[in-house]
């Protein structure tokens, strides 16, 4: 988009609506009074300009007007009252902003030149910042490096922020929110996002060379989307930990889209599974766990019972929970590809298979 066409940025939080209301009320008053002064100036300048024979040195001199206490009182008291009403309106909003709800979940944000690190209550972590100059290739495109503060819609959330070095500022225009992030001190703010979308996040306090790159996005998601993100996608979530284990345990050696040895696991959670003994099961958590601990018990129809059992010495129950979480959440097209980053087990075949997946 080359041009923004609205006076104000999108209003994506409860506070933003209230802010906009105050802004437009003030603007209505201020623009009206500003234009009134301009109109008076303009009228006087035209009406009382020097015109030959009408209003010049030959006509009577201007009246000697020294002032008018009445008028001056009027234009002292009325502006004062108007300004004080702004003060009250502004104070009401400020009061809300400065007093976060006590029960809202808390996200800790650490600022450091030139990135932000956000720590979610569930252990999830995101890093925001280090954008490129033209805002085009944010690191958000690179897999699991989110580069965005992700928030659920219609849920209050509290942020506690601190800086590791110099003063930064955590500003989200779409939320009409901004707070200086100071070293050696916690500061707190809060949001209640109301609109799903992706919005700018800026560092607003000058912090050196890459001050302008200490920016990122705020992504507001629907509840369900957010839960998926929270549980599966973000650093620190069970799903992502499970994914790392999935690689570490060499599961990708067979369970990948190019392999003919094992089924791929996309979208299998809660699906019906036909077994080679003729029975049918629902692929729930227990099925997934069993298929890892004791894979030959329930072998899927059309596949060889070749998968080794993973015992407690290879994967603990705690780790297994994460692997299950990963497999549960694996959606279509998200299977890992066997690459150098996820090397095949020693001795495994490496040629590209041709056999299609059985239906």
């Amino acid at each position: 988009m080359l041009l923004q066409t609205t006076i104000l940025p999108p209003a994506a939080s409860e506070m933003a609506y209230r802010w906009d209301l105050l802004f437009w009320s003030m603007t209505a008053i201020l623009v009206t009074s500003g234009l009134a002064v301009y109109a008076a100036m303009f009228y006087f300048c035209v009406r009382y300009r020097v015109q030959e024979g009408v209003n010049d040195h030959t006509t009577a001199p201007p009246p000697r007007i020294l002032g008018s206490h009445k008028l001056e009182l009027v234009w002292t008291i009325i502006p004062l009252l108007v300004f004080l009403s702004f003060f009250v309106g502004g104070a009401l909003i400020y009061d809300e902003v400065m007093h976060p709800p006590a029960d809202a979940p808390e996200i800790f944000v650490t600022g450091k030149r030139w990135m932000w690190r956000a720590q979610y209550p569930g252990g999830q972590r995101v890093i925001i910042g280090q954008n490129s100059l033209d805002y085009s290739d944010t690191l958000a495109n690179q897999g699991y490096f989110e580069g965005a503060l992700v928030l659920p819609v219609n849920q209050k959330v509290r942020l506690t922020l601190i800086s590791e070095d110099v003063i930064h500022d955590f500003a989200i225009p779409a939320f009409r929110s901004k707070i200086d992030v100071i070293p050696g001190r916690y500061v707190t703010t809060w949001y209640e996002p109301t609109q799903v979308g992706e919005y700018h996040l800026f560092c607003d306090q000058y912090c050196g060379t890459n001050h302008s790159l200490m920016v990122g996005k705020v992504r507001v998601l629907e509840r369900a989307e957010y839960e998926k993100w929270e549980n599966l996608e973000v650093e620190g979530s069970a799903g992502l930990e499970g994914r790392k284990l999935f690689q570490k345990l060499q599961c990708t050696g067979c369970h990948n889209v190019e392999s003919s040895k094992a089924p791929i696991l996309e979208g299998m959670y809660l699906q019906r599974r036909e077994l080679n003994n003729g029975k049918t099961v629902i692929a729930d958590e227990a099925y997934i766990r069993n298929s890892i601990r004791n894979p030959r018990l329930q072998v899927r129809a059309g596949w060889q019972a070749i998968m080794p059992a993973y015992g407690h010495d290879q994967v603990s129950e705690e780790e297994l929970v994460k692997v299950v979480a990963y497999i549960k959440g694996l959606s279509r097209g998200k299977s890992l590809i066997r690459t150098d980053a996820t090397p095949a087990p020693i001795g495994a075949k490496t040629e590209v298979p041709t056999a299609p997946e059985p239906k």
Partner: protein
Amino acid sequence: MSVASVNELRAVPDESPKEVRHKSYLEEGYSIWSWLFTVDHKRIGVLYLVTVFGFFLVGGIAAGLIRLNLLSPSGAILDNDTYNKVFTAHGVVMLFFFLIPSIPGILGNFFVPIMVGAKDMAFPKLNIASWYVWMIGAAFAVWGLLIGGIDTGWTLYPPYSTRSSSASVLPGALGVFISGFSSIMTGLNIIVTIHKMRAPGMTFGRLPLFIWAMYATSLIQLLGTPVVAMAVLLMIIERATGLGIFDPTMGGDPVLFQHLFWFYSHPAVYIMILPGMGVINEVITCFSRKNIFGYKAVAWSSVGIAVVGFLVWAHHMFVAGISYYAALLFSFLSMLVAVPSAIKMFNWTATLYRGKITFEAPMIFALGFMVLFTVGGLTGLYLATLGTDIHLHDTYFVVAHFHFVMVGGMVVGLLAGIHFYWPKMFGVMYSDFWSRFAAVLIIVGYALTFAPQFYLGLHGMPRRYPNYPPEMRVFNVASTAGYFVQGVGFIMVATYLILSLINGKRAGRNPWKATGIEWATESPPVLHNFEKTPVVVCGPYEYPLNVMQTGEKADVR
């Protein structure tokens, strides 16, 4: 310098051969030393004129680099570090070496003694000392800018400035520290001059409003500058010795610096705007041939701004981690300081009523001041209001707001003053057509430069960004275009003013048929300003009676 040719023109005998003609201050000596060692307040004013506009050129070029870089969302010409140094140079030079000394240094030095009917400032040697101290400070700052630049922003916030910045902060900060003393000296001199040097009959109620404005300004300079000197000195100590004052890793408090800094730097914006307002009083009355509407209200609003202006500093810190109750108090007080500025606007507008208005260049600048300052003042209310400030703080909205006040207000006010008093200062008149044309161009250029920045600020574009989201490009390009429009205007001003020194028409004593006492003396004035001590018989704006403060008819000469 072209002054010599001006003086050749002056040598031609004119209308009053009976009187013994004294030499004008420009003819008192032609050597460089007669300028550098002068104690004449008028020559010191001219020294300030030359140097202040020198710095304006430097700061203006820096502004051009900033605007050029922002032509492209990814930064058109500068890398990030260079950009940071350039915007710091722009801020430091424009604030400490242009805006603060501009009107007090040029018009204050030149006209305060004349307008109170005195021979010179109360302390002429302190006066020239102030210029030298300022130049020494400037030398430090320029040294800092040249040996590697300063990348802290003009606000010098620690711990960035004391710990992280690798640039040459120390010489720059020393420059700011030293130049502050010059400001104190000028302020002190002006206050004493106004109190003790007034001509017979020049009561406080007959003082030109420019003098009232300068008095209020000097009060701030005298009381505020020591505080910023302390803040900068503490910052220098922390940076140089590692003593923990502001850096929290050493037990300091970074917000303390902001308090000390803004305790001066907010009143300092009134140092920058009050003298401009003072000039507007003189110009508006003269070109509408009217008494000022509500002399007392305008005079006391200047003092009111100076006093209340000291109590509002923390409105720069609403989101900086100050206490909730402090924020409430400072927002409330900021609302109060807006009132006197509003009073001035209304009184100026009322002054136009039933006048005989002409539109020479000073008047166009003065009207431009009123238009632009209104925008700057009204948008300031969004920043004084707690709720709205949260979103707008540290964005281009703030940048646009203070440029409308500082540039649209002070620079236009300065230009109004320079154009109004140029014939008095140098005895010559500049081109009428070109000056009006340039005035319109500059005012339009300002509006074009800074109005788009309000829009960018509302969308959250932060200050001090060398690059920005691509959707903000159109308004950045418009702003840059505005810069060039003003630039052309300034080149015109410089050209016709310099040409006027070479071949300008002789202006005579009172080219504007003004009533102030300063127009009762020769143009350019003689060394001691008046042939004999003037006696003041009335207030400064008796245009309807056509009477000067000295009792003569205003339109005779």
